[in-house]
């Protein structure tokens, strides 16, 4: 049990997908203009990460490994992610057209989001059990959502700040992202798996 908690914390903070592994940066800058859409993006990524983990694991261990088809990993995983994102897109479009508009291009872009493929490859690469996979996916998704929310919170405050002209827009966002990544380096001292 303790090991699983450490796995969760490790995935969420120490090896945060956005701020330590630097995967999936695209929506990190694109959809963090306001808290609400950042939270929704976190939710969408959480769903895709969880289901990807849960589908990829049996696929790898019960289909690809026994047949000696390890080389199909990337193609098969991308296929699964694409299908899941498609499903998610239909669902969001039906349930919340406003959210669908807010996500814009970033929703289909989850398909090519390296955070998701990264998770799938890490899960099989580290040789996790199914329970570990679940916890790892949950932790990673929580860390992702946390970083998104922090970024969105800071950027909302930045709206009222007097940013020098040369730094306005993307420049200041990249600076913030860099400083946050530095801060997250501090979690390295937690020394978990």
């Amino acid at each position: 049990m303790g090991e699983l908690i450490m796995l969760f914390v490790g995935a969420a903070l120490v090896n945060n997908f956005l701020l330590s592994r630097f995967l999936g940066i695209c929506p990190f800058l694109g959809v963090t203009r306001e808290l609400k859409s950042a939270l929704s993006m976190g939710g969408a990524v959480t769903f895709v990460m969880l289901v990807t983990g849960l589908v990829v694991w049996p696929l790898q261990h019960y289909v690809l490994d026994p047949l000696g088809l390890g080389f199909l990993q990337t193609v098969a995983f991308i296929l699964i992610i694409a299908v899941l994102v498609q499903l998610l897109e239909m669902f969001i479009r039906k349930m919340s057209p406003a959210l669908y508009e807010a996500f814009g291009i970033y929703l289909p872009l989850i398909t090519t989001n390296c955070a998701i493929l990264g998770l799938a490859l890490l899960v099989v690469g580290e040789g996790f059990t199914l329970a570990q996979t679940l916890i790892f996916a949950l932790g990673s998704a929580a860390g992702y959502t946390l970083a998104m929310l922090m970024m969105a919170g800071i950027r909302q405050e930045m709206e009222f700040a007097d940013v020098p002209q040369a730094f306005q827009g993307t420049a200041i966002s990249l600076l913030i992202a860099g400083l946050m990544a530095l801060a997250f380096l501090g979690f390295g001292g937690l020394n978990v798996a």
């Binding site: 088809l69 699964i80 498609q86 499903l87």
Partner: protein, 274 residues
Amino acid sequence: MVSSMVTAGAVMGVIGVLFSIGLFYAARAFHVEEDERVELLTNMLPGANCGACGFSGCSGLAQALAAGRAQPTQCSVANSEQLAKIAEFLGVEAGPVERQVARVMCGGTSAKATQLAGYVGLEDCRAAHLIASGPKGCTYGCLGLGTCVQECPFDAMVLGPDGLPVVDESVCTGCGICVQVCPRGIMQLVSPEAPLTVRCVSPMAGKQVRAVCQAGCIACKICERVCDQDAIHVIDNLARVNEELCNGCGACVEKCPTHCLELTDGQVRVLEAV
């Protein structure tokens, strides 16, 4: 080897088929009713996706049209026939369409304009303009790196051998993208029927203009004096034409000492195939 290729194909095939069946049912369950006019309208629009209308491409404008938030004439690319069709489809008046074309308001060819320095860098006028207003002596003149040519979505522009861009007015749709990207404000949208063009935008005094360019307007006011229609006036060191009064007689063009005036005669200028 062959057998693993077969199993690989089979496994991917099975996964693909399973997923597509799943998606098929999901698509049914989450089906969203859409305004079917949007797709029809998208097909009726020119499909240039240039964004000149202010929407995200043709489908964006189609959505706005269907919702009544836009007018067909906002599309500057479609010709009057296409616009009439769209207007009829929507049951609205198309209104008059004023065709516009982009014109190069600078005559400072590489032979006529002084070059202060060489420019080695990004082949983009916007970048060159940022460095001390570019390598040209005239800080208002065309930089000649062809950013407008690159950005033109309709291939209506080429960079001429004299270092100035040339517009093919039969292809130009007046979308205004070149006007937006030019850091010098040299591209301007005008009616193709406008008879007279002043090919200079420099508001500098005559002496300063002459120091850097042989083709600029030096505000000598000869055009003002020879015009019997009172159609051309030098305001802020630059000749300006009142298009309503100008009859295109060409008296000023003949007398202009720097030849910065150009008679277009209402002719649509077409480029020879390059």
